[in-house]
């Protein structure tokens, strides 16, 4: 049952040290504000799941929150590599992290299986490649009708899913549209969930009868954080801050630069900063 909270309380009451947490959002609607709150609250030993780790996990890893990463593509999209993630994997800074690596198809299917209450997902994948030899969570099943061997991965069932959505209504139903990624599946696959939203409305009004809506009884905590996806974007609210993605490459290159940037831009501020950061982008990128 959806409860409205401040972002601080939503994180404090739902994410604990050692939890398995999926922060999802596929380029669009990445829950940056929620991740920053997790960093501020100093969570440790998290297993974090995400198809495309992106800046958000570079920051969590660099700040020492992460014990294990489950992922399928660890890049800064269109820019390059994730330097804090590389530093942890290659140099063990700030501490070594464990990797469980999949393909996109595997994780997309694994979220889907989690949402569907299945213990595993099957798909046609991983043929002739090396990943199964380094990931024991890639197995196979044989089709009982054709004999075809299919790849199998365990369903994803996180303790907590964290997503950013466009809006919630007063009952706590959550609406998203555009590139919806695996967010619906991540919430349905998880025991608990935190949803940050751009706005809270009386009701969703005219919409497609098939709109992507998560009913309030599938949601845990909701916190209103305008701009909470920045530098990712919220369709119809503000555009993607491509400049921030490009700038990150330089910030993340050096440990000291990274730490001081995090101190200034995450540790010393609160979620309200996201509305300010997106003010400019609301004019060009995505007026409703």
């Amino acid at each position: 049952m959806a409860q409205f909270h401040t972002l601080h309380d939503a994180v404090a009451q739902n994410i604990f040290d050692g939890d398995t947490v999926a922060f999802e959002g596929f380029t669009h609607l990445i829950p940056h504000a929620a991740a920053h709150e997790v960093i501020r609250q100093g969570r440790r030993d998290l297993t974090v799941i995400r198809m495309t780790p992106d800046l958000i996990y570079d920051q969590l890893i660099g700040m020492g929150c992460v014990r294990k990463l489950v992922f399928s593509f660890a890049g800064n999209p269109g820019v390059g590599l994730l330097r804090r993630l590389r530093d942890a994997v290659e140099e063990g800074w700030p501490h070594p992290i464990e990797l469980e690596e999949h393909s996109h198809a595997a994780l997309a299917n694994a979220y889907e299986a989690g949402a569907a209450g299945l213990p595993c997902a099957i798909f046609r994948g991983y043929r002739g490649v090396d990943l199964p030899s380094v990931n024991p969570n890639i197995k196979s099943v044989t089709c009982p009708f054709t004999g075809e061997e299919l790849a199998a991965v365990p369903a994803i069932r996180p303790n907590v899913a964290v997503i950013h959505a466009l809006r919630a209504d007063r009952k706590g139903n959550v609406f998203l549209e555009g590139i919806t990624g695996v967010q619906k599946e991540a919430v349905l696959a998880s025991k608990r969930s935190i949803v940050t939203v751009e706005e809270i409305v009386d009701d969703f009004g005219a919409r497609s009868p098939n709109a992507t809506i998560l009913p309030h009884w599938t949601i845990g905590a909701i916190a209103q954080v305008p701009g909470g996806a920045h530098p990712s974007y919220a369709q119809g609210y503000y555009g993607r801050d491509n400049g921030a993605y490009i700038a990150w490459d330089r910030i993340a290159a050096e440990r000291e630069v990274f730490l001081s940037w995090m101190e200034e831009n995450v540790m010393k501020v609160g979620p309200e900063i996201f509305e300010i950061r997106t003010a400019r982008l609301r004019q060009d990128g995505g007026a409703k």
């Binding site: 596929f26 890049g75 997309a108 889907e112 046609r124 994948g125 491509n242």
Partner: protein
């Protein structure tokens, strides 16, 4: 080679290989540029699909990520990521997928995972993303990569996505029915698989490129087709479309 860069030649050669009725699974950078040049020149009805879920997009600028808002704004429709990988990619509806990587071998197998040992990597690369299943589920694969001895290697450190495996019938023996890599488009040449061994073979050199350039930039002894053609230089229209696209893209991304 004057009037255009090797990168431009590579992108335009890739664009030319696309047909009006193709359904393309588009990656970022060169593939995205190639697909959109094709759309803006000889293949106006080509269907572009990005793995973020956008089907039938027609962006006016190239996306920085595979999930930029304009891809969704201009799409026929946008589906969830599980649906994209299940119904559209695995469902066998994509005719051409684009791949590239940090390393390629002579059979078009690719590495985007690690340089060095997996558990103690020299360079931790981004990983496979969609590539392992793009490589086996699309009708055929076009690979775009710039040639270098670091990238064109005798043996991959890690096989992220399957090309022709160990060559010959190995791909089919691994239970994969799709064609795999049918074109390798580089900054220097066009390569196609030998019909028997499936080893990539140079079939066309870009204007001004000599065989030594190929040999110098490949970590194995490259094979040349019996008759090696010369890739037609980019036309004025092709160059203009590509450069306009890049200029619009640069303006949009730096302005944002």
């Amino acid at each position: 080679m004057s009037g255009f860069t090797p990168s431009e030649m590579m992108t335009i050669a890739a664009a030319r290989a696309l047909k009006n009725d193709d359904v393309c699974f588009v990656g970022i950078d060169a593939p995205s540029a190639a697909c959109n040049v094709a759309r803006l020149t000889h293949a106006p009805d080509i269907t572009l699909i990005y793995e973020s879920g956008t089907i039938g997009t027609a962006p006016s600028v190239l996306p920085l990520s595979i999930g930029d808002g304009e891809l969704c704004d201009t799409a026929l429709t946008t589906v969830s990521v599980p649906e994209m990988f299940r119904y559209w990619l695995q469902g066998g509806r994509i005719t051409v997928g684009f791949l590239g990587g940090a390393q390629i071998d002579r059979f078009g197998n690719l590495n985007t995972t690690v340089v060095g040992d997996y558990t103690r990597p020299k360079v931790r690369l981004p990983g496979g993303g969609g590539a392992p299943e793009i490589a086996i589920s699309c009708g055929q694969i076009f690979i775009t990569m710039k040639q270098s001895r670091r990238g064109f290697v005798e043996k991959l450190d890690f096989i992220t996505s399957l090309g022709h495996g160990t060559g010959g019938g190995d791909r089919q023996a691994k239970g994969v029915a799709t064609k795999g890599p049918t074109l390798l488009l580089t900054d220097l040449a066009i390569w196609e698989p030998d019909p028997g061994t499936r080893e990539f073979t140079v079939t066309s050199l870009h204007p001004g490129v000599r065989r030594e350039h190929i040999v110098e930039t490949v970590g194995w002894e490259p094979r040349f087709a019996e008759t090696v053609g010369e890739t037609p230089a980019p036309t004025a229209e092709e160059l203009e479309v590509l450069r306009d696209l890049h200029a619009r893209t640069k303006a949009a991304h730096s302005g944002a």
